[in-house]
């Protein structure tokens, strides 16, 4: 079901690609900083959504300090994993690949920040890479839970563990992991803009 969301999003992106490639829409829009404006709009709406979500406020109240280990594990694990694969990539530096990884699956926000602060090309890598992270989690969460324990699907989902991958995580790991998954996703979602910007400014 949730996969449908990713498919729709990818089709809008593809449609944009085709319009950009084969029409003059980009010239009509020239002078308008449309990517920054749409980012501001999205951030504002996401802020409203987090602020008005009684579920997330409740979850934050129930927070046991041990739950903070989960986002820490995700950040450390992503860093180690990206560091390892960076050995095989010549085109971009470790810092640039880390910024891509630090989207933690939150592709809309991370890709546009990277596009605005770095380059279009790295923005595309961030978009694709973080969409892939979400899709891998949606497809593999049940297997991951069996072989690597009930926390691993949450870490794999990254920031998406609060919404798109939450249902699959809660069925793969059990309902008692839904709240930790939610808190984990909220924390990473809030951290994404800070960590990505920080890495790019190093």
């Amino acid at each position: 079901m949730r996969l449908k969301g990713s498919v729709i999003i990818l089709s809008f992106f593809t449609m944009g690609l085709l319009f950009g490639r084969y029409t003059h829409i980009n010239e009509w829009l020239s002078g308008i900083d449309y990517s920054s404006l749409s980012l501001y709009l999205l951030m504002f709406l996401v802020g409203i959504s987090i602020g008005s979500d009684t579920r997330s406020l409740q979850a934050l109240k129930n927070m046991n300090l041990k739950i903070l280990l989960i986002p820490t594990a995700t950040i450390v694990g992503t860093t180690i994993g990206v560091w390892f694969v960076s050995i095989f990539v010549a085109r971009y530096s470790l810092k640039e690949l880390m910024a891509v990884g630090a989207g933690y699956g939150y592709y809309t926000l991370s890709s546009i920040i990277i596009k605005n602060n770095h380059s279009d090309a790295l923005g595309v890598v961030a978009l694709l890479s973080n969409v892939i992270r979400e899709i891998i989690t949606l497809l593999l969460a049940p297997i991951i839970a069996i072989y690597f324990g009930k926390i691993a699907p949450i870490c794999s989902g990254g920031a998406t563990s609060m919404d798109t991958t939450l249902p699959i995580i809660s069925s793969a790991s059990g309902k008692e992991y839904a709240i930790p998954s939610l808190i984990h996703g909220i924390i990473l979602t809030i951290l994404v803009p800070f960590i990505v910007t920080l890495l790019l400014s190093l």
Binding site: G81, I113, F148, I151
Partner: protein, 90 residues
């Protein structure tokens, strides 16, 4: 970046104040979906009109796959470690 974070913080405050108004909250969820579509479409436009990127899309895709494989594998392993040490006996 200060602008982005303060806009988000302003939204959070507004959302907190509006949270009793269910209709506004659910309208907002719809708006987010449309904003994401708009954002992705606009990103597509800006990338599609960039010939240099269009010509290297397949290599960028492979690169993206490599980064996500590393990120997911690393996260699964650290998730496995903390599960074994801290959560298994819960």
């Amino acid at each position: 970046m200060v602008a982005v974070v303060s806009i988000m913080a302003g939204g959070m405050l507004l959302g907190f104040l509006l949270k009793a108004r269910q209709r506004v909250v659910s309208a907002n969820e719809k708006l987010i979906t449309y904003a994401i579509y708009l954002l992705l479409f606009m990103m597509g436009v800006s990338i599609g009109s960039n010939d240099q990127i269009m010509n290297s899309l397949s290599s960028l895709g492979v690169l993206a796959l490599i980064v996500s494989a590393g990120a997911v594998a690393g996260s699964i392993l650290t998730g496995f470690v903390i599960f074994k040490i801290f959560f298994k006996n819960d």
